[in-house]
Symmetry: C2
């Protein structure tokens, strides 16, 4: 029996979820909705919420109230636990499952960080992002007067320190020095090494490539200098969409097992994200 | 309340488990047993089985029958699913949990492989081991006539292909060429590039360093060239001992939740391996 999945929000992530569903034999796509559509006749076991992150909590509540599972890639790190706490009673009341912050960071990187903590409990983990586009920083620059289009790239410098490379395309008559100072003094940029570069076309630079370099040196038992590193170089929305679909599978399984609630990815067994026969998976992966 | 943990088997791994327990505030070491001890008065929530791998199934059965959880690092890849199937009914009958094959491979590498499969379902994962000592290959060489001591190092050549560097210390009067031919024609070595080197002292070379380079290039949705890499350079028994202790914590939690059974590491939520407050863990790791 295929899992029925619907998508709310059809931007980069929504489209990537669609592709990942079409590539999954155990999934059936039953609808694609825009954020202001009517959901009265939605027919799905699970809904992938691909709206802007701030709209995620409201849609999650709407779906959970109907007993429909949800997955999202809510990415405001400081508010993830609070979202989980908010959705938990609703999910339990309606016997549904919500897997939140299912992407790569938060998401699969979180799983790696938890695993490395279990392998070497003492030590420091550095998460170095990029090179890749920061959506949050890009939005801030686009809002500055005189900016026609912008791109803020995150460049990893190691030990979780990042450089911001900001590319701006100016409106006619805008003054570059004024725009540059506005960026350099914005709260989003003031703590990081930031370079602002004027370009004739931001569109010509756009690229959804991203990556991470996650490093831990730690202590197992009383043995120091245990060294771990995780690297990836990926198409950002394609990975996020795939993780959402894999977590949709896990959400439905948890619901069927009678374990409703709101979960982050470090709270779910990795095998629940995978399709196919349990024996074959264990024989092939363990 | 501390978790009471006992150790059976006190070699490299048993000693590493002891160190990891002593470094864990939520754990209390209640006994260290040798394989032929009497277990009538064992007082533990969970026992770490640190015996040779072939003795693990028997001890796991003995402990599960008493309702005591077990963790082991059973490492015969082709028999892991069968061990899980064998222990499953016993664990359920006695309301206990057994987490099997909890080390780094099988173990944490298995979790990484499962996670990468969820992130890019199509593609090839290569697991490249070493440089580090292969216990299995070393034992085979030690059994050859004329060999006083031996060390077989596994050297990664990429794409899961490995070179064997075999260091032998000969008994007086033994012929190197004869020993070398016996090694090169043994089933353990015949499929790999193997070099045999005579040394005056194998003990002078011993080192428990090991490592892995795990690589996947795969497809997320319909997007190819998603690239992932996990590297580690570690003290081998220290890591295995730490993973056993982290999984002991998970075993007791699963038992307390009323979810008895036999599990591999890809079937348990990563957060179950970690001590401390759930909210702090989620806020810190996700």
């Amino acid at each position: 029996m295929q899992t029925k999945i619907a998508i709310i929000g059809y931007g980069n992530i929504g489209r990537a979820v669609e592709q990942a569903v079409l590539a999954s034999e155990d999934m059936q796509l039953t609808g694609i909705y825009h954020h202001n559509d009517n959901f009265d006749h939605i027919d799905a076991d699970v809904v992938a919420l691909c709206t802007p992150t701030r709209e995620v909590p409201g849609f999650a509540e709407q779906m959970l109230q109907r007993g429909i599972c949800t997955v999202d890639s809510f990415d405001i790190h400081g508010q993830i636990y609070d979202l989980r706490a908010k959705l938990m009673p609703l999910a339990k009341q309606h016997q549904a499952v919500s897997i939140i912050s299912a992407g790569w960071d938060p998401g699969s990187d979180s799983v790696i960080r938890a695993l490395l903590m279990a392998m070497a409990p003492k030590g420091i983990t550095y998460t170095n992002f990029g090179p890749g586009r920061s959506m949050g920083h890009t939005v801030v620059v686009k809002a500055i007067a005189g900016v026609k289009d912008a791109l803020s790239m995150t460049i990893p410098l190691g030990t979780s320190i990042h450089r911001r490379m900001v590319y701006v395309e100016l409106e006619d008559g805008a003054d570059f020095k004024t725009v540059e100072q506005a960026i350099l003094h914005d709260d989003y940029f003031v703590h990081d090494e930031t370079h602002v570069v004027q370009v004739p076309s931001v569109d010509a630079l756009n690229n959804v490539a991203h990556g991470v370099n996650l490093v831990r040196s730690g202590v197992s038992g009383d043995t120091h200098n245990q060294r771990f590193e995780f690297n990836m170089e990926i198409n950002n929305p394609a990975l996020t969409g795939q993780v959402l679909v894999s977590c949709a599978r896990a959400a439905v399984r948890l619901q069927r097992e009678g374990r409703p609630g709101a979960y982050t990815m470090i709270e779910i067994p990795p095998i629940y994200m995978l399709p196919g026969d349990e024996e074959q998976l264990i024989r092939g992966l363990v």
